[in-house]
């Protein structure tokens, strides 16, 4: 008893209670709106859920078994994977290219930087509606430009062959500004003395970039790859607005599929299983990326 009393007094003296009190609101809100629904989703994935009737039937792994043979889900998973595999490296590479360009001084640099970053702070839905028109085969700007240079017009969102590419193009445009800003911060954090030393040693611009800049940017790259992957696995808004998953399921992605299962077919258990699989996949990729990036950690 005296030991417990001593502990309480010590915590009190160190203002630990006050600290807990201050962090309590965010812990409670995070718990209520993030943790609890996530746990609930995990639980629902092993039940057949009839929400309105309040009936929950335990079915073990049946939802997962069905998922594995569900062609619509297989296509959605494949499309999501293609989307992730393209968008993550492309956004990062373009972001790096732009960051290197903006790391040098030139007139109106800040204005251009703001222009590249602007899509990031624009609502995805609003931007997607504008792009829907840009992609319009008859009146869209893209086909007007193609006509201008004598190239054949494209169906963009109207064809199952080009629709996913069109969505990826939109997403790259939307996300590249963020990648650029993060890389720019990374570039500016590299001590000038490193570059200077390499220059004195006779390293050319490309060598300096390859041997000094790129390795020192490894933590930034690791962060962006993880961040971009998590975002890409969750792609929904632009697909919902631009194509609704079509044509012929060619742009259907996992989050859209689970949304449909839950809110159009009311298969909440099945949708939860999809969400759980997506969570496991995202977590797995993130852990692998994080573990691998540890090898390239630098301090300066």
């Amino acid at each position: 008893m005296p030991a417990i009393r001593r502990l309480v007094l010590r915590l009190h003296a160190r203002h630990v209670w006050h600290a807990y009190l201050f962090v309590a609101p965010i812990i409670i809100l995070f718990g209520a709106f993030r943790v609890a629904p996530s746990v609930q989703t995990l639980l629902y994935s092993v039940y057949r859920v009839e929400l309105l009737r309040g009936r929950f039937t335990f079915i073990g792994l049946d939802n997962f078994r069905e998922l594995l043979v569900d062609r619509a889900f297989q296509q959605a998973a494949w499309n999501t994977l293609v989307y992730v595999l393209v968008i993550v490296p492309v956004s990062a590479a373009l972001g790096l290219l732009l960051a290197v360009l903006f790391d040098t001084r030139f007139p109106l640099r800040e204005l251009f930087k703001a222009l590249y970053f602007a899509p990031m702070v624009t609502s995805t839905v609003a931007a997607a509606v504008v792009w829907w028109w840009l992609y319009n085969p008859q009146f869209g700007l893209f086909n007007a430009l193609l006509r201008l240079v004598g190239l054949p017009i494209q169906p963009w969102l109207m064809s199952s062959r080009t629709a996913l590419f069109s969505i990826i193009l939109f997403s790259v445009w939307k996300g590249v500004g963020y990648n650029m800003i993060v890389y720019l911060a990374g570039l500016q954090a590299i001590p000038e003395s490193f570059i200077e030393a390499a220059r004195i040693d006779g390293a050319g611009a490309f060598q300096r970039f390859r041997r000094i800049t790129l390795p020192l940017l490894a933590p930034t790259t690791a962060f962006l790859l993880i961040y971009n992957s998590i975002q890409a696995f969750q792609v929904f808004d632009q697909v919902f607005v631009l194509t609704s998953g079509g044509p012929a399921g060619s742009t259907n992605v996992v989050v859209l599929d689970l949304y449909r299962q839950a809110f159009e077919r009311y298969n909440f258990g099945y949708a939860s299983a999809e969400a759980t699989l997506l969570f496991v996949l995202t977590l797995g990729v993130t852990v692998v990326q994080y573990a691998y990036s540890k090898r390239f950690e630098v301090s300066y």
Binding site: R48, E50, L51, L52, R53, R71, A72, P137, Q138, I153, P155, L157, M158, S159, S160, R161, T243, S244, G246, P247, A248, G249, S250, R260, F263, E264, R265, Y266, N267
Partner: protein, 429 residues
């Protein structure tokens, strides 16, 4: 002591007054899709719509507009939280999904019988969910899919502007003659515009006429809530999909580059399209005031066949969890009396539901109303099967895959049949 009593009175009086006021004016909420989704929904924002009832019944009616694209989901989420509107103004094709969850209250049997006896045959078809069971009332101005065409384009192509194509062969021939190309051979105007992108349900709606007109159907028993089989992987289903496939690949009289048939017709980019007739009727005066358009039943597979086209409506329904369920039904009884049907249809230029009102002017001699009346007998509603959402997704997918050359017609239909049968079986569990 006296001052304390005065203070108490001052504090409690507003509370008591507001409580009394609250209990006096009960509020019935009606949820409807906001925007230009359906002409009938726009009437709810007209303050005079509910005013007579509010005055008569001493209640307040609050119409709440929801975004159409997510309305079904919002209703479901709200129902799960037991907080949905008292009256739901919903797309008739959503009803099976809601019935699957046992969400809706049914119309009392006696009232349903009286309604079914008094309304015109097409309204009866839309109202009766089997053995006289009703889950709501279709709104006036029901929607039927029909062929609409640009009369000027017909004249330009040497076709009689008053004579639409009657058979599939004629339809293909007309579409070829109406198609226009630029110097490079790109199609600048399609003879017939098809819907092939967007939500699969919308794609099925706009090709329903060919699927059903060729002898196929979405499910084998349209009035069975549970069970049954998909009925489109057959000669009829193949013919229906092949019709457009041939127009795309052989005739080149339609194109995947004109995805919104109604907009294409209104903008002069298409000469023929098949969709909700009410939509062209509403939109043409605003978007294409100079457009001279014709309206008829959809073409048939071969001469002598009867056209079949999609008949749908928006429905007034009451969820079981409605807080003011009784008051909601009373309001619906009022809206759906023959007198209100006549007054509202006359006011808003819609077609009535009661047989007796069709005998009165202006409906009796209005050319548009009468043209619709000619098409109504060919109307068929969507099946009521609880797995309908899945069936429509499957069929919509098959149409897209075929027309987009993602899969061979037979493979696409076989895959869709498997998916549809699974959806039917899952929903029946």
């Amino acid at each position: 002591m006296q001052r304390r009593n005065v203070l108490k009175l001052a504090l409690t009086a507003p509370l008591l007054a507001s409580r009394r006021a609250w209990s006096q004016s009960k509020t019935i909420t009606l949820w409807y899709p906001a925007g230009d989704i359906t002409a009938g929904a726009a009437h709810f924002s007209d303050k005079s719509f509910f005013a007579p009832y509010e005055a008569k019944a001493g209640v307040k009616v609050e119409a709440v507009g929801l975004d159409y694209d997510t309305m079904q989901q919002k209703i479901f989420a709200a129902a799960a939280a037991k907080n949905a509107g008292d009256i739901l103004f919903i797309d008739g094709s959503w009803i099976p999904g809601f019935l699957k969850e046992e969400m809706l209250d049914s119309v009392p049997d006696a009232r349903a019988k009286a309604w079914l006896d008094a309304v015109s045959p097409e309204i009866r078809t839309l109202s009766d969910y089997g053995k006289g069971r009703m889950w709501g009332y279709p709104q006036y101005g029901i929607d039927i899919y029909g062929l609409t065409w640009n009369k000027d384009h017909f004249k330009e192509a040497g076709l009689d502007p008053e004579k639409p194509p009657r058979t599939w062969d004629e339809f293909r021939d007309y579409a070829k003659k109406l198609t226009k190309r630029d110097a490079q051979g790109n199609i600048t105007r399609v003879g017939y515009a098809i819907r092939h992108v967007g939500h699969p349900h919308g794609i099925v709606h706009k090709h329903f006429w060919a699927i059903y007109g060729s002898g196929a159907s979405l499910v084998d028993d349209p009035l069975a809530l549970r069970g049954g089989k998909a009925n489109f992987n057959n000669d009829g289903g193949r013919a229906a999909l092949k019709l457009v496939l041939d127009m795309l690949d052989v005739d080149k009289s339609t194109s995947l580059n004109f995805p919104d048939p109604r907009a294409a017709l209104l903008k002069g980019l298409a000469s023929m399209q098949i969709s909700e007739t009410v939509s062209i009727h509403e939109r043409a005066p605003k978007e294409a005031p100079d457009l001279k358009w014709g309206l008829s039943a959809t073409p048939v597979r071969k001469a002598g066949d009867k056209p079949i086209t999609l008949l749908g409506s928006w429905m007034y329904a009451v969820p079981k969890i409605a807080k003011n369920r009784e008051a909601a039904w009373q309001l619906l009884e009022w809206i759906n009396t023959p007198e209100q049907d006549f007054d509202l249809c006359k006011k808003y230029g819609a077609t009535p539901r009661y047989k007796v009102n069709w005998e009165k002017e202006p409906f009796k001699s209005n050319p548009y109303d009468q043209a619709l009346k000619q098409i109504y007998p060919y109307g068929k509603p969507l099946p009521v099967n609880l797995g309908l959402n899945g069936v429509m997704d499957a069929m919509g997918g098959a149409i897209q895959k075929t027309w987009h050359h993602e899969a061979k017609l037979e493979e696409a239909l076989a895959e869709a049949e498997r998916a549809a049968n699974k959806a039917i079986a899952d929903a029946a569990k």
